[in-house]
Each structure stands twice: as structure tokens, then as C-alpha cells.
Amino acid sequence: MKFERYGIGIAKGMAVTFRHLFRKPVTTQYPEERLTVSRRTRGNELIWDKERCSGCTTCAQSCPQGTIEIVTSGNGAVTAPCSQACPAGVNIPRYARFIADGKPAEAVAVIREKIPFPSVCGHVCVHPCEAKCQRAQLDEAIDIRVLKRFATEHDTGLWKVNSKVAPATGKRVAIIGSGPAGLTAAYYLAKLGHSVTVFEALPEPGGMMRVGIPDYRLSKDILRAEIEEIKDVGVEIKTNTRVDSIDRLLEQGYNAIFLAIGAHQGIRMGIEGEDSPGVMECVSFLRDVSLGREVKVGSRVAVIGGGNAAIDSARTALRLGAKEVTILYRRTQVEMPANPEEVEAALAEGVKIYFLAAPSRIISQDGELQLECIRMQLGAIDASGRRRPEPIKGSEFTMSFDNVIAAIGQRPEIPDKFGLPIGRGNTIQADPDTLATDREGIFAGGDVVTGPASVIEAIADGRQVAISIDKYLGGEGIIEETLAPPEAGATPLKKTREGWRPQISTLSLSQRLSSFAEVELGLSEEMAVKEAKRCLKCDLAYGVDKFEVDIGYCIFCGLCVEACPRNALFMGYDYERARYRRGELVMAKEDLLLSDEKQPSGYARPKVEAALPQQTLLLDRAEYLDKVKKRWDLRLPFGL
């Protein structure tokens, strides 16, 4: 061998190393600023979430090392979290399975077992169930309300086959108010054989469902059809009949009375100039619009308040021809009690929302209203868990409108002659379990007891009152019924189906604003089946008596984590934890030495278990916050 190139090769190589003297070194630095983008877990700790585990043993089957030992009991009949969250207790996973099998009629029967208003709920339910949906831990919650709507739209009336009406008992029940609570109680009492009369002050039955929910959310025909079904079981509804005194009803021979008069009186703002012409109150405003009475709004409308009623008023005002609708809310978007979806829809339709602003005076001037407002700031947390708004002194400003609609809350309007104790917020006080009032034979439920709440809560109250009244009248109070055929071959979920919740088609903006047509258009059959199949079947879970992982044999391949259909298994985010802790230096060496768990080799293992759940959530949470941020990406007014 020869020195072929006289050392030029060596010189070139030395030039390369010399260049590196002036480059930034790279290899030894752990990239602190970078977090893995992988959705998959990694690390050397396996965490099992008891709440999510359904005992399906898929993980144990997929483990190559056989390290997972899982012992289950029972055959799987628990109440799913969503059903628990539903005030009426609808068996949601069960009807989702029917929909997934292409049997919407059976699905309606399952819903009908608990509520007599499936269509109404399918359109306007506030779905507390979706908040508890376990699927949200995986990706997004199941769109349960829309599934219900799909089922009712494809109903064939199968539920009537098993629906039975008991022979007449001869007892008479008067129900005051034909809202969801009243009609639900009426429906079940009538099925138990009682003679039920419903008194309604307004010309149309339905209560708040009729006069509080605008047509673009729930069309009249759907409500009418549901009420017809109730009438079919023998309920008599007397409209245009205002009941002022319950004593007179008792005199007429009614054995029991259910007060379900709702909360139909708007709360006054209590500010100067509130009675000026052009200032309206949202309950009567919505009622007048719903009943077809003539309501005129100017081109600029202000809505005060941040609840669903405020949003409804604002969107209704837009449909009545208002050009510019502004919502004023004294807190911020986070504290807003309205449904986020509703808020989103309102914003899409062009409603402006001003946060941290409260009206202090209304001046009627030259045919227009000068709304004097004051800016607020958030102070300490109050009893409702929200931060109390406090006015900022000297920050008054004035805006001019044609109309002002106050939507700061509702309360029941109780005639004086009822003679019942009145509680906070003008509500009737009733026993929380039986809903009986102090007077014998008089029951109360719905908004009149709870204050303004949702349809599904009213239905739940109605069911409870039906049970209580039947017991009071000597019955056994059993309103449970089985309408749906038995389910064949339902097995726990073994494999998660991929997919996010569907994008529900809506009317175009121009179509929306020109009429009161329903905005939401529902699901196609294909979409509904796909959505129903995302359900994790939480009701079929087994009780897990023992779950053990022999970490000594675990190779942390992650197959179990991947196989778990319900995301009940995680791997500890060791790298991420290192990253989070690096800055803080939480685990100083002294801490390690002081730990109780001394290892034989002389050093101690840090106690990390306590910190784990939080740590494992970190990635999920970051994602979640990001999503929320996108959803709430509003323009903040006033330079906030």
C-alpha cells in the first residue's frame, strides 16, 4: 500500500473536523423544547384506569408476554355512564346498538321506555349524557342527541305493540301546565288507568317546548305529533284555561293535583328606564313570536344575558328582521351558561357578543333607546362556582338600539291563591324525592320547583310525580315498561372503531335568516349507523375483580394499549415526565435518598405513582385545550 495522495486525504478529513469546531453541537442535547407528536404512548410504566376498563380481556389476549392477569365477574349488566347522567335514565348504549343494527324503530321503543318525548329530546335535549361519554377520552363523545333524532325520524310505531294502558281506576288527577313535566306525568298516570285532565292557560299545549323554544330548533309539527300520542292514551287537555285556585279543583273532585306551571315570568333587570317602550322581556317575546302574535323589532336589537334564552331571543330577533343583534353579557365566554353549540350557531348567523358589559340605564330618546352600560371585571368566585363580575368605576359607555330584550333569567309566576310555601327564586318547595308539597295530594315538579332548567329534567320530574301520585292514589307506582324487543347477542366491545363524530348538515345562512325553518338537518342512515358503532358499549362491562401486570416480564411493547378498545391502559410518559421535571428539578438527589422505598442496591426509587394520573393526562389535555380554544376563538370586543 502506498500513500497515494500524499496526505491530501488526511488534510481533507481534518478540514471536516475543524469545521465542526465552529458548528453548534447537536448530539448530546435532549430536545427539551420538543414533545413527541406521536399519539401512541411510550415509557416503562403501565397504568390501568379502573373507571374505563370494561373487563373485556382483550389486553390480556394480546399481550405477547402473558403479563396481564385479569379476573372478571358478572355477565355485564351495569348502567353506562351516559345513562347515569341522563335524568330520565334512558338506556343509551342499548338504543345505539339498535341503530347500529339498522333498527331505528326498536331504538325508539328503548327511548320510549323512559320518555314520552323522544322527538323533542332528539331536537333540543341539552344532552348531559354526552358530557359523560367515555368515548370522549378516546376522541370525541358520541353525538347521542342526533342519534335519537335519527331514530325518531325513522320510527315505524313499533313501540305501540308493547304499550299497554291499565284498566281505569276511577281516580281523577288534575295537572296544571302542559309542559314536559306535566304531560309526562299525565302520560304515565293515564297509562296507569287514572283519569287525567291537563289545564293549560295558553291556547296551545306544550308549555316551554311550545312557547319557549323557537321554531328553528323545534318545529311545531313534531311537538304536536308527540302530544297527540299522549292524548291517544286518554289524556284530556284543556287549553285556554287558567287555574287560579287549587282549592276549587279539589272541590271539583280531583283526587290529586300536579303543579307543573313552569317558569314563565321574566326577571326584571331592575334598572332605570326598564319600562320604556321598546324594552322587551325575553319570555314574553319568545311566547308572542311562537304563538304567531305580531311582534315588531327594529333594526338594532340588544339582548341582555348569556343563557340559552338570550341566544334564542337574539336568533329569533334576527329572523324577525333585525339587522344587527348584540348580546351583552356581564361575564366572559367561559362562564356563559348557554350551550356552546348554540353560541357558535348564533355567531355564525352574525350575532355579536359583548362580554364583561352590563346595562346600567336605559334612556328613551327620539324613538331610539340609549343603553348606558358599564364594563365589568371578574372578581372572586361566588357560590355558583363562577367568578363574580364587578363593575369598573367610570367605565360607562352608551350604545343606541331600537329594542332591548332582557333575558337575564326566568322565574315561576305563582298565583296567590295556591297557598303554598314559596322558596328561593319564587319556586314552590317540594320534597326532593317524592316531589310532594306540604299540602296533601298536591305535587309540584318541573321548572316551578327547580327554577328554569331543561326539558329532560322536567321529564324526569314528570316521571317521579307520576310514581308519587300513583302511590298516593293507592297504586304501586310502577311506570317502568318494556317496549323494545329483547336484544340478541350483544357482546362487549373488542375493538375500537376509528372515527370522529359526524358533521351534521345545517341550512345555509341565507335560508336560516329568511324563515323559522329548522336549522339542523339530521343524519343520513349511513352516518347514523357509523356513529352508533362508535359506542363503546359501557353497559356491557364486566366487574373487574383483579387486574395485575407483572412489570418484571413486561416488555412495554404497547400492544395491550393499542388493543384496548376503551383506552383504559396507558403507558407512563417517562420521557415527557422527564421533560416536565427537568426545569423544576423536583427530584433532587436528596429526595431520592430519603424515600421510604430503599432498594437493595443502595439507591431508592422515586415515588412517582402519585403524580401519574395528572401526567398521563397532559397530552390529552393539551389537545383538548387546543380544541376548545379553536371553538372559542372569538373576537374579544373592547380591546380585551
Partner: protein, 367 residues
Amino acid sequence: MAIKTEPFVLNLGPVHPSTHGVFRMRTTLDGEVVVDMEPVFGYLHRGIEKLAEERTYTGVIPLTDRLDYLASMSNTLAYVLAVEKLAGITVPERAEYLRVIMAELQRIASHLIAVGAFLNDCGAFMTPILYMIREREKILDLFDMVCGQRLTYNYMRVGGVSHDIPDEFLPALDKFVNRMPGFIDEYDQLLKKNEILLVRAKGVGILPKEMAINISAGGPVLRGSGVKWDIRKADPYSVYDRFEFDIPTGTVGDCYDRYRVRIEEMRQSVRIIKQAMEQLPSGAVKSEVPHLIRPPVGEAYAHIEAPKGELGFYLVSDNSIAPYRCAIRAPSLINLTALCDMVKGWKVADAIATFGSIDICMGEVDR
């Protein structure tokens, strides 16, 4: 005056800086000259072939990760190809392309370590291997993106891959692929024509062409001896028939040729990845495969061009959920069989360099 000498036995390994794991070369030395060498291995035997018989078809995948731990993606690819062949499972297009991208990235990563370790064995004090680890780190980051792991990826699945790539992956890969040729040039500038490397590697540890074929060597060891044989071309698997690339070969079969072949293969891999990125279709990344796979009774052999040579899996099914027999044709072991003939008569230092140039991974040799 004749000096009375006698040969002495030197155990290089199993604990030694240059044995790439726990390998032992029981060398007999006459002065510095290796008169005889007996490879002793099995220190890392874990019985993976036997373990595979007790695991479900999916459960074997993490085990194959641990064969050649420097090229986990390739191992799992060979295994899932065998299972797919056995059970007749088709793979979505996108998954095929992802597999090719991962396998070629893995080839680059493995060759970087192989070349770096070889140069380190030649005495270049850590510099080349550190430069190469720097680039390997980028590949590991890419793998981390897709599967959350950095060494035992467990990414391939029967019927596809476990996850689709995240949105950040393709831009990052594009950046890497565009920069990689520059880095390879830098390695070449560093040591390609270095006189000392030339005298150390050229003509040293020659594996003649005939012998390479006779011992059924594979990969860069075979191609370094001048045999144009690459499973990707000879028996195209996955979608390799859709890409254009060359098979670099050596001439003599010495350490230097093997080193050059690896460097050139990295360039070709970059070429393949570029093409695969252009052609990458959208769609599913995994076909519908039952949780427990029960292939029909039968047998299947699937082989791929792993970074170290022809890696094959031979599976026998008895229609149960676990393979009846899983035999692995490990390229490292086959290539290692030539070591004794290659180093006899050379100095100790040459033995180490030759051993380094074969590029073995003990996890695969001992299984």
C-alpha cells in the same frame, strides 16, 4: 539464533469494546498474527424462535423487534410479510408505501451505525460514529413521531402498520431526505480517501466472490464481493418493483469495499424514500384483520433485504392462533460464518476491522 516462540490464545470478548455485543473470538496468536480463530457465540440467546411458538401471531411482532435491534423495522417487516403470505392478507397501498419508507430509513440508520462502528474499530477515535449517530438521531426522531418509540418500534402490523403518520411527519422526512446526501458527502470527505484508512482497509479481510456465494452471504457483505444480488430486485416484495434504484457493488471483497457499498446504499435508500414520498397514496393504513389470526394449515417463507443481508422468516401454521414453527434466517449469523477464513493470517487489528466490516448484531446471531 532462533527464538523459541509458541502461539498464545487470546480471548477477544465476550466483554470487549469492539465485539458489538457479547461475541467472543477465541484467537490463537503468533505474535500479532492470527493463526486461528474460533467464534464463540450464544451469550445473548433468548430462544426467540421457541418463544414465538407460544405467542399469537400479533404477539410475535415485539419479539422480532428484539432480533436485530438496530433494524427493528426491517425485522418486523419480514415477519409480517410472512404472516400475510401465510394467511393471505392483503395490505392497503398506503401501508405498503409507509413500510417501504420505514424500511429504507431503517436501512440508513443501520448502515450509519455499521459504518461508524467499523471506522471506530479501525481506530478513528469516535468522530465518524458520532457524526453518524447525529444523523441516526434524526431518523430515530422520525420513528418516534410515527410510533412513539426510538428503538423497538413495534410499528408494522399484520395487514398494514399500527398508526398512520402524523401531519408533521412528511415535512420532517422531506427535510431529512434533502439534507442526508450532504451528510453522506461529509462522511466521504472525512475518511473516504484517508491514507491511513486505505492502508488499513484496502485488501484486508478479503472475502472472495465464490466463497461469498458458497456461504450464502447476503447484503453488503455479498455485494462488497462483487455479486449483484439484492432481494429488492431479485424477488421484489412490498412495492419495491415500483422504484428506481441501483445496486452498488464492490470489486475485491475487502473491508473497504464493504464500507463503500454501505455508503452507496444509503444514497440509494434516500432515492427510494424520495420516490415513495412522491407516490404515497392516501387511504387506510391497515386492512381489517381479526384480533386473533388463524391462518390455514400450511407454511410460508418470506424474505426481505434487511440492512445486514437476507432476512427470512419461515412460518408453519397448524390453524391455531400461534405459529407452529417460526424459523429465522438471520443474515448476521450467515455472514459471520466467513469470519474465520477472512481473518486468518492477518494481524489482531485487522481481525477487529474485518469483524467490524461484516456488521453483525448479536441479538440476531444468537436470537
